[in-house]
């Protein structure tokens, strides 16, 4: 910028202060941010008999949130994010089925670590690539994990999976109940912790650097940002979060099969995120909730009709609402406020 060339010392100090002020103001919690949490808690009281489904929605929110970190903020387009969901799901599943390690909360940590390790290793190799090559490599990674599981079906249970897993009561006190109330609150609590963590990352200087990489990777290289290291770091974090989501999936369902590694699972979470809006944190909430509720309703009517609908929805989103449902609301909001001013 030309202005910065002629800036004197005090101006620069002021500018820095203003930049810091801007970052902090973005980081501050806004009132509207309480809304999705209030909805989640309200759902607990309004539809108490659908809490098993509610847990699944929250798990997909977490999964979509992890994808938002790498896709929405760092701009990494992957078709194999289910790999980490699956690693987390199988870590908990195998620990419970083969090692009798069925304590849920420690299971989450182990799942996160396992997924993070896989994320770190694959990310280190794959994140040097872009475009179609990266799409294919991430896709191949997920399928190879699935095939490995199938190859050792003596351990993994193959496509029949690991049914009838038993997990210890939460904190040693709260047992699984028929309506899934305990697990709903459990998943909601874990999601809140994960969300706080993700939000911190996104608004940190590290998060800003990721956005920079998404917007213009060459410029980030040029200003000396360690692009590859940052991408691997965020990929590892996202893998860990996806792993936690997978672990919760296994714990709430009490079973896991190799279909968690499916391409469908990777595609589904991406569709959810796009539907809600990428790079805006709450897009994951809106997208996953809207998708899951629509799917629950329409796929009962007719799975074929639902598949057509989701395809049409994708086409329409790409053509008319590229910033997702939340982006659409924003645009409408802008239109309305503009109208008022006139």
């Amino acid at each position: 910028m030309a202005a910065s060339d002629v800036m004197n010392g005090t101006d620069r100090g002021l500018a820095r202060e203003r930049a810091a002020e801007y970052l902090l103001s973005r980081h501050r919690f806004r009132v509207a941010e309480a809304l999705p949490w209030l909805v989640a808690i309200a759902a607990f009281f309004i539809v108490p008999d659908r809490m098993t489904f509610g847990s699944q929605v929250l798990i997909m929110v977490m999964f979509a949130l992890s994808l938002d970190l790498i896709l929405g903020y760092a701009g990494i387009v992957t078709l194999g994010h289910a790999a980490f969901f699956g690693i987390g799901a199988y870590t908990v599943g195998l620990a419970a089925a083969r090692l009798q390690w069925s304590e849920p909360i420690s299971g989450l940590f182990v799942a996160a670590i396992a997924a993070a390790i896989v994320g770190f290793i694959t990310g280190w190799f794959l994140l040097r690539y872009r475009g179609l090559t990266l799409l294919m490599l991430t896709l191949a990674t997920a399928i190879m994990l699935q095939e490995t599981g199938n190859l050792r079906s003596d351990i993994s249970g193959g496509y029949d999976g690991l049914p009838g897993l038993m997990f210890k009561p939460l904190l040693g006190a709260f047992d699984y109940d028929l309506y899934g109330h305990t697990y709903y609150l459990y998943v909601l609590a874990v999601l809140a912790v994960v969300f706080y963590f993700v939000r911190r990352i996104v608004y940190s200087p590290f998060g800003q650097a990721l956005t920079g990489i998404r917007e213009n990777v060459r410029r980030m290289h040029a200003i000396g940002s360690p692009v590859h290291r940052r991408l691997v770091a965020v990929y590892t974090i996202a893998a860990a979060i996806a792993g936690v989501a997978g672990a919760l999936f296994t714990q709430t369902n009490a079973y896991v099969t190799l279909t968690v590694f499916d391409f469908d699972n990777s595609a589904k979470v991406m569709v959810m995120l796009i539907l809600g809006g990428t790079g805006r944190l709450y897009g994951a909430f809106v997208g996953a909730a809207v998708y899951m509720v629509l799917e629950d309703y329409f796929s009962k009517l007719s799975p074929t009709f639902w598949q057509f609908g989701i395809g049409l929805l994708l086409v329409l989103v790409v053509l008319f609402a590229r910033r997702g449902v939340l982006g659409l609301f924003e645009s409408v909001g802008e239109l309305l406020t503009k109208g008022k001013k006139r």
Binding site: T133, L135, E147, T148, A267, V315
Partner: protein, 290 residues
């Protein structure tokens, strides 16, 4: 013939037939992606549509298998132009992600539509007598249908090679793949060229879909199930390269067949292992531009 040699010959023969199917179906995708950088995940849907047209023509209208294949290719090629002009062209300058989403959306819609009309159960197709049974090649018998695939594939390769390397249009396509802007500035209408290759590629995909009915079975999920393989062939071969697509189809076809013969449990593992190995060393594929 000793057992080992027998198996090796079987693997090579089946692998070659499979490779021909992969090549025919993927080559259009490779050229269109090389030309416009457009990630078309609906390519598998065009192949599936071709397969179902062949099913309808042969089963319901009683037309022979070979003419049905040709009709399916022409119809799908023509219909694909509507999609290209109406939808795809709006997204040429969009990001990879948006192209991926639009085309996967189209693929979902196609799957649902064909499930609605044909049901989810795999379809078969009546073959003419000379394609059934075995053919004797002197030292042992081979399935006629696979032999036919290899002959047809080879013929198509020769035709495509000639069109690509020796004709004016082929030279224009190669120029546009190499450097689109430069090609446009010397007066090549890349837009029209793209429509042409897109139609041709979709037509070939439809032909591949028709050929796949007997080889792999045809159900609506074909559109996504085999799409991954087509994309891998394209990525491993290198975008926009005829030679690369052929080489990739051969390598992956033979490896996949060998894997299924020798280690049935491992399923598709070999294909993906080879893909990862190749792409880690050569990110742009065998003959792609780095």
């Amino acid at each position: 013939m000793p057992q080992v040699a027998n198996i090796a010959v079987s693997i090579l023969f089946d692998g070659l037939a499979y490779a021909m199917f992969l090549f025919i179906t993927s080559v259009g995708l490779s050229v269109t992606m090389g030309l416009m950088g457009f990630v078309n995940l609906a390519h598998g849907a065009f192949a599936m549509a071709g397969g179902y047209i062949v099913v309808t023509l042969t089963r319901t209208l009683g037309i022979d298998f070979i003419p049905s294949l040709i009709i399916a290719a022409v119809v799908v090629g023509a219909v694909s132009v509507i999609f290209e002009r109406g939808l795809y062209r709006r997204l040429y300058k969009a990001t990879d992600l948006e192209q991926v989403l639009l085309t996967i959306g189209l693929a979902f819609m196609a799957i649902a539509t064909f499930t609605f009309f044909y049901g989810p159960v795999p379809k078969s197709v009546p073959l003419p007598g000379w394609l059934e049974g075995d053919v004797n090649l002197g030292f042992r018998n081979f399935p006629s249908y696979r032999a036919f695939l290899i002959v047809l594939g080879t013929a198509l390769i020769v035709v495509l090679w000639y069109a690509f390397e020796r004709t004016n249009i082929g030279a224009k396509i190669r120029a546009a793949v190499d450097n689109r802007r430069m090609a446009e500035s010397v007066g090549i209408n890349v837009d029209r060229l793209f429509t042409l290759t897109f139609a041709l590629g979709s037509g070939l995909a439809a032909l591949g879909g028709g050929l796949a009915i007997q080889l792999l079975g045809l159900s609506p999920s074909f559109a996504v199930l085999y799409l991954v393989l087509f994309l891998i062939v394209v990525a491993v071969g290198g975008l926009g390269s005829l030679k690369g697509t052929l080489l990739a189809a051969l390598v992956l076809g033979v490896f996949d067949t060998a894997g299924k013969y020798l280690l049935a449990d491992a399923g598709g593992f070999f294909v993906y292992a080879v893909t990862v190995a190749v792409l880690l060393v050569k990110p742009a594929g065998f003959y792609g531009r780095e």
